[in-house]
Amino acid sequence: MIIEQSLSMIFPLLLAPLMLGLINRTKAFFAGRVGQPLLQVYFDLFKLLKKGAVYSRTTSWIFQGGPMIGLAAFIASLLMVPFGGVPALISFAGDFILLAYLLALARFFVVLAALDTGSSFEGMGASREVTFSTFAEPVFFIAMFALARLSNGASLSEFLASQPRLWAPNIPLFFLISIAVFVVLLAENARIPVDDPNTHLELTMIHEVMVLDHSGPDLAFILYGSALKLWIFGAILMGVLIPIKVEPTILGQVTALAGMAVLSIAIGLVESIMARLKLGRIPPLLIGAAGCALFALLLVLRGHP
């Protein structure tokens, strides 16, 4: 068991950047381009790690500490995320709360690092980041409460492991929860329709503009961290969506890996066919997702379907 558990920690550490590659390839395919190599993100990471760094004179130690703390928080969160039906390395009652707050800690430091540069662009991105995550967090929590009630458990591993027994009569329910989690995934990972990961300098984006001034290993940490964050939400979504529990468990993990690939393509698809929403339309989107999650919770509470 410990081997599989470690595997579900090793997979993201190795494969998370591949998701970004897959998304990029999908988008390129829909745009009629060949696109960058699948492994481009890895190349970028290695290149950045080998470089020196440039720091603004305005910045303080917060700016240099932000990426580090962010990455550490993402890796620590991964410890609590089950993958493919295999329980996570660490699981305890309410671990999803710690996960959400670790992600919040990472956000806090990325935002502070952005404010540390004194650039108004980055201030703008920081301001939007905190605004939208304020709405995304309750959605995630309500969805988790629904799962808690459904699975009669209290930790992520219990929520996402006891699926097969419950799947059959609850298709609409999982569908609703998946919608909510998917919207949170898009919002938290700076994907279209909430944010555009491709633009760097327009006034429209959020996450990318906050990391404008980072360079070298710091930027590598941020890039790698955002891949891991995508994996965290992807793994949770897979846990909700994939109904099959297979023996041996390694097969379940392979299924989940395939699921992650499909998810990456789906995200690429969403990014290809949708435009970024106007900023004012993002809170309604997240509130709509909250509505889905709450609807799911109410359905569970009724003991039905």
């Binding site: 009569p169 298709i171 609409p172 309604p284 509130i287 709450l294 609807f295 109410l298 039905h304």
Partner: protein
């Protein structure tokens, strides 16, 4: 069978949510069309043991009217009046969605209080129907553009229809057909009125119709 039924109702509730949060008229009309189509399956699913010609007629009729004809009429009206979106409703979209959340809660609560038979209680029909009725009502009250109000009216009617199909097991389907006809006439008339009002006044902002009332001064 219940799973399908509930899935259908959840779909209708979701379309209701999208309606609350969407400003584009074309999108809203499509949502209502989808709701209408989903509605058509409901009688068949609910009374699957006694499928007869009347039931099928009702299903097909409501699908054709609510899923195809009304949306077309409304899309046409919107096109002719050259309006694409609801810009400033009385209640903003964020607030509308929050109201939607509240309505969901209220519908579930109400449905747990109503004296119902066990077979109906076990499904989502009553809360779903209540949600649609209340949402439709809220849309009529909170929107300015006449077409949005018509949409609200349709959603409300859909809610009533769901209620009726679930409750009236033995009631003559003729009544339902009659109601359908009424709605048809209503939408038709509204479509024409919207078109003409727009031609006369260059807008269909119903808020400004208030100017037509007799003033005291």
């Amino acid at each position: 069978m219940t799973t399908w039924l509930d899935g259908l109702l959840i779909l209708m509730v979701l379309t209701g949510f999208l309606l609350l949060g969407s400003s584009r008229l074309a999108e809203s009309i499509r949502m209502v069309a989808m709701q209408g189509l989903a509605l058509g399956f409901l009688p068949i699913l609910l009374h699957s043991d006694e499928i007869g010609i009347r039931l099928i007629l009702l299903s097909l009729g409501s699908m054709a009217l609510k899923g195809l004809l009304f949306p077309r009429l409304l899309l046409r009206a919107a096109r002719e009046a050259r309006i694409k979106r609801e810009i400033e409703p009385f209640v903003g979209f964020t607030m509308s969605l929050l109201t939607g959340i509240a309505i969901i809660w209220i519908s579930f609560w109400l449905s747990s209080r109503l004296p119902l038979t066990e077979s109906i209680r076990s499904t989502l029909i009553v809360p779903g129907a209540l949600f649609m009725t209340l949402t439709g009502f809220f849309l009529i009250v909170s929107r300015k553009i006449a077409i949005s109000q018509v949409l609200g009216y349709l959603v409300m009617e859909n809610g009533v229809f769901v209620f009726g199909v679930a409750m009236a097991k033995d009631q003559p389907w003729l009544i339902e057909l009659g109601v359908l006809l009424d709605v048809f006439v209503a939408v038709f008339v509204m479509g024409i009125t919207i078109f003409h009002i727009n031609r006369e006044f260059d807008h269909i902002d119903s808020d400004r119709l208030a100017n037509l009332k007799d003033s005291d001064s």
